[in-house]
Amino acid sequence: MKKTSFWVILIAAVALLAGVAAVWLQIRGAGATIANIYQDGVCIRSIDLSSLTETVTFTVEGPAGTNTIEAEHGRIRVSHAECPDQVCVEMGWRSDGASPIVCLPNKLVIRLENTAASATPEIDGVTG
């Protein structure tokens, strides 16, 4: 009997730990949308978009002038750019990782990393 209760407690403890870990991973996985901002291939800033409660605005300086980046809960965009073509601004908001926001003149790339299965069906890439 004593031996049995030892095993019961051990198994219960392991199961409990595993359960807690599984739930924690699920929660973390479900909510986390990380925006990584790269300049010329180097990651200069990472923002957890899922944890934002208000709009965060900042600028990044590049060879073709500044890009103003606006991040809020779950999404991010380039709201203003000093480059002539404005392609990055026209790209608008991004809320999933299927395609990055790119400013070619400044070699600025914003990639979103979704750690969870979101509401949209699985997408490997985007053409357009």
Binding site: W7, A12, P84, V109, T120, V126, T127, G128
Partner: protein, 346 residues
């Protein structure tokens, strides 16, 4: 040895937890993404498997090599030399010759809906520099006099090209497609059997995904954020042309970068997004532009005559038109689920 009931229940529970954890481990073959700035865009390369790193290094070198041949602005490139050849035949590389041959074939087959000599008109609109302007009609007409792919003297065997005085070519509508084909070849040569590349919106996939299923390629919604739907692809290129990709607005009018070589103005065929799906990236790149310019009726005629690929068009009145090969592997998303879908059959 006899266990108490709770112990057995817990053991089963534990086994379940462990099994669930294992389930998440499937498709353990990792992809390695590398990004390259080339051809005025960003290129993402994602080969899978053990040779992925090696494949990326080789592919990057190949991309930069091709860029140095196809660039319009880089002095010494094949295209630059052809544009500044003063009527004297210029010898070009095998790559440029192969690309020119395919491009000129599509120019002819589409009756000029694709014309690689439109470059001077594109430049005067500012689409090559970002200094946008609406040129006056007289200027467009005078530039159009030098736009005609039929006047390009190209000898495929001798690999020479010569242009009439004042004509300039640009392979921008086909160069990324050709580059995609070449990257696929590099992947295969290094032993990669599964991978996806995205060359500034041109998607091309090698094989299936590592788990054996088809790649799911979404088509950008031409009207805003989100997607029209998803196309399943294996060993194919999926390439879209849309007016939304580069445009400017003046006096309430929108001007986009895909010009109709017949008018020298942005093409208004009723199609706002054209996707070509096929084995050849070069063909799909050329065709996506041509289909956008041709519009739904001419696209259908072209496809019936030449075939060899599938297409998906989105019209300005919100309809989806696709060829029969895509009928079972296209899935509309979001608001597009309620759109009218027309399937074009042979």
């Amino acid at each position: 040895m006899k266990h108490s009931k709770p112990a057995r229940v817990l053991a089963v529970l534990l086994a379940c937890v462990l099994l669930c954890a294992c389930e998440k481990q499937e498709a353990s073959v990792e992809g390695v993404t590398s990004s390259v700035f080339a051809m005025d865009t960003i290129m993402d390369l994602t080969p899978y498997g053990a040779a992925a790193e090696e494949a990326n290094t080789a592919a990057e070198a190949r991309i930069l090599e091709l860029e140095s041949l196809f660039s319009v602005t880089q002095e010494g490139s094949d295209v630059y030399r052809a544009n500044h050849g003063d009527g004297v035949p210029v010898t070009v590389s095998e790559d440029t010759a192969a690309l020119l041959e395919t491009a000129l074939r599509v120019c002819a087959q589409t009756d000029g809906a694709l014309d690689i000599s439109i470059y001077p008109v594109l430049r005067t609109w500012g689409f090559t520099t970002g200094s946008y302007q609406v040129p006056d009609e007289a200027e467009i007409q005078s530039l159009l006099e030098r736009v005609n792919y039929r006047d390009i003297a190209f000898d495929a065997d001798a690999r020479t090209v010569s242009l009439p005085d004042g004509m300039e070519i640009d392979l921008g509508s086909v160069a990324k497609g050709y580059t995609g084909d070449q990257v696929m070849q590099v992947f295969r040569d290094t032993g990669v059997t599964s991978g996806m590349i995205n060359l500034g919106g041109n998607v091309q996939v090698l094989g299936t995904k590592p788990d054996g299923s088809a790649w799911r390629v979404a088509v950008q919604d031409p009207r805003g954020d989100g997607y029209v739907g998803v196309i399943e692809a294996v060993d194919q290129a999926v390439i879209t042309s849309g007016g939304y990709q580069r445009y400017f607005e003046q006096d309430g009018e929108i001007y986009w970068h895909i010009l109709d070589p017949a008018t020298g103005a942005p093409a208004h065929s009723g199609v706002i997004s054209a996707t070509a799906v096929g084995d050849s990236g070069t063909m799909c790149d050329a065709l996506s532009t041509a289909l956008f310019v041709m519009g739904a009726d001419r696209a259908e005629d072209y496809w019936r005559t030449y075939g060899g690929f599938d297409y998906l068009l989105v019209t300005e009145d919100g309809k989806i038109i696709l060829t029969e090969g895509l009928a079972d592997r296209f899935e509309p998303l979001g608001t597009w689920e309620s759109s009218s879908v027309t399937v074009v059959k042979k």
